[in-house]
């Protein structure tokens, strides 16, 4: 489960980092709370479909809200993100404490999640096969869909992240890609946060991608490293959590951060160690070969 969460989040997170939108991931992970609360109030159930729809709508509202505040006022984008997600999150908290306090939709769980309880759920059976707890199955489907979409629309995502103007001139609508990515993000976050909570989801969005960025400057390699990082932090986190007898989700994030720091120190090109080494040997970065690139 931890692996699935980390993979799905990491894949989407890669694009967020490249588009310099890591904080938007943060924002959406918080602001889906009112979406879920409203979905719960309207449908009266905690089924996954209303939750997905609620999260999608909330994700879209957040994205639009950030854009509107950013474009129609003089407020800069980072401040716009701050306004959008805190206010939506607050609305979510109010909604839950007003209307849903008697039901089991507690804020602790929303904020921190608990991955260790998942094996206690009853398994889903399909055609006589035991597939595992429902949240794992759901996460597996989401992860699969995300991996599939990233594979199929690889070039559209790449070009619209790198150069929106070019992507427009190629007939690829980057606004649409942007919203599609945000929708994907919302779905991933809502299915992941049950396990790791709304706050730790952010770590899973950013850490795998950030680690991969340090280790490679080839995008396909980065995506692969993201998955590897996800797997390693899930396994390490599990062991750490069991060993310390603490929250598994937190242990996972600590493991993921540990891997990030390792990458930071030991990365072959950009790492702290190799930089020290390069400085000693007096090597100069051969950045500009043909001179005269001054403006």
């Amino acid at each position: 489960m931890g692996f699935l969460v980390a993979t799905a989040c990491g894949l989407v997170g890669n694009y967020l980092i490249l588009r310099r939108m890591a904080l938007v991931g943060d924002a959406i992970s918080h602001s889906i709370l009112p979406g879920i609360a409203v979905a719960f109030l309207l449908s009266g159930s905690r089924g996954s479909l209303p939750m997905f729809i609620g999260a999608l709508v909330a994700g879209a509202v957040t994205t639009v809200l950030i854009e509107v505040i950013h474009k129609k006022s003089r407020v800069k984008q980072d401040a716009a993100i701050g306004i959008a997600f805190t206010s939506l999150f607050a609305v979510g908290v109010i909604l839950i404490s007003l209307f849903a306090s008697k039901v089991d939709l507690d804020q602790e769980c929303v904020l921190y999640g608990e991955i260790a309880f998942i094996p206690l759920e009853s398994s889903v059976e399909l055609a006589g096969l035991k597939l595992g707890p429902p949240s794992v199955v759901r996460m597996a489907v989401v992860t699969l869909v995300v991996a599939l979409l990233v594979g199929l629309f690889y070039k559209e995502l790449l070009v619209s992240s790198f150069d929106p103007a070019l992507s427009f001139s190629l007939g690829i609508n980057s606004t649409f890609v942007h919203y599609a990515l945000m929708a994907m993000l919302s779905v991933v976050v809502v299915s992941a946060f049950e396990a790791v909570g709304a706050i730790l989801v952010i770590a899973m969005l950013i850490l795998p991608g950030a680690t991969a960025t340090l280790l490679s400057n080839r995008f396909p390699v980065m995506l692969g490293l993201t998955v590897l990082h996800a797997a390693l932090s899930a396994v390490l986190g599990l062991h750490l959590g069991v060993w310390l007898n603490c929250s598994l989700a937190a242990a996972m994030v600590v493991a993921a951060t540990f891997l990030f720091v390792l990458a930071w120190i030991f990365s072959p090109e950009e790492g702290l160690l190799s930089r020290v080494f390069k400085d000693r040997s007096g090597a100069v970065e051969p950045r500009c070969e043909s001179a005269g690139s001054s403006e």
């Binding site: 690889y154 150069d163 103007a165």
Partner: protein, 253 residues
């Protein structure tokens, strides 16, 4: 249809935050010409190119490319943005960037084929960047980055090229390489609009000049438009530039 001009702009007005940047631009660019767009800072040179691409909302007027609204004929337009407009730390190689030029010709869900790779390689060779094909783009100099952008535009195989300051911040070798390339494209019957900020060289580089300062001050063959009167109208009373203009005109005379 075959006779439709590559680019036709009628009464184009573009405004940022209700301040007009371009006013009633009328322009018909004939085919097979290398056109330079010159004007002072803030004259709307980049804005004109972006608006022609349909990248910016226009307040009034229309743009036609080969007789059709630009949205319908985007495939025939190659756009070279300013070098600073993208993040050069992006984790892609030179080859990846040039291949992006082929994406428009590929459909959804399709990956670049061997033929696309071959085309990309040819384009890189034309700008003498083939040895750098597998380089990560952050390890390039300004001139090299610009050549990668040009190779990508070539890979689009368009008929009309809109280039935003391709000469900005490049070394002399790259500048002459780019000019040679532009002439080659023109020889192939392509039409090129190039934003340029250096007046003295503008006269030698381009067949036609568009002098722009919010409005079209003059548009025509370089030898007809490049004179003291129109340049003064374009650049107004900016003394430093005026002396440069005077110098340029004197060299011509």
């Amino acid at each position: 249809m075959a006779d439709a001009p590559p680019l036709e702009i009628h009464d184009l007005t573009v405004a940022y935050h209700k301040k007009p940047v371009l006013w009633g631009v009328d322009l018909v660019v004939p085919p097979g010409k290398l056109v330079g767009i010159v004007g002072p800072n803030g004259a709307g040179k980049s804005t004109l190119i972006k608006a022609a691409m349909g990248l910016l909302p226009v307040s009034s007027g229309w743009v036609k490319v080969f007789g059709e609204p630009v949205a319908k004929n985007l495939r025939r337009v190659g756009y070279v943005p300013q070098r600073e407009s993208v993040d050069w730390d992006f984790p892609v190689s030179v080859m990846d960037v040039v291949l992006m030029g082929r994406y428009g010709k590929l459909g959804l869900l399709k990956r670049p084929t061997k033929a696309d790779h071959d085309t990309a390689r040819e384009c890189l060779d034309k700008v003498k960047m083939l040895p750098y094909a597998n380089r990560q783009i952050s390890n390039l100099s300004g001139g090299q980055q610009q050549r990668v952008f040009l190779a990508r535009a070539l890979a689009q195989e368009s008929d009309l090229y809109l280039m935003d300051e391709p000469f900005s911040g490049v070394d002399a070798a790259t500048e002459s390489a780019i000019i040679a390339l532009l002439h080659e494209l023109r020889a192939d019957g392509k039409t090129l609009l190039v934003v340029h900020h250096d007046l003295p060289t503008a006269r030698n580089y381009f067949d036609m000049l568009l002098l722009l300062n919010m409005r079209v001050v003059a548009f025509g063959p370089t030898e007809e438009v490049f004179n003291y009167e129109t340049l003064q109208k374009t650049y107004g009373g900016r003394l430093t530039i005026l002396s440069e203009v005077a110098e340029a005109v004197r060299v011509k005379g």
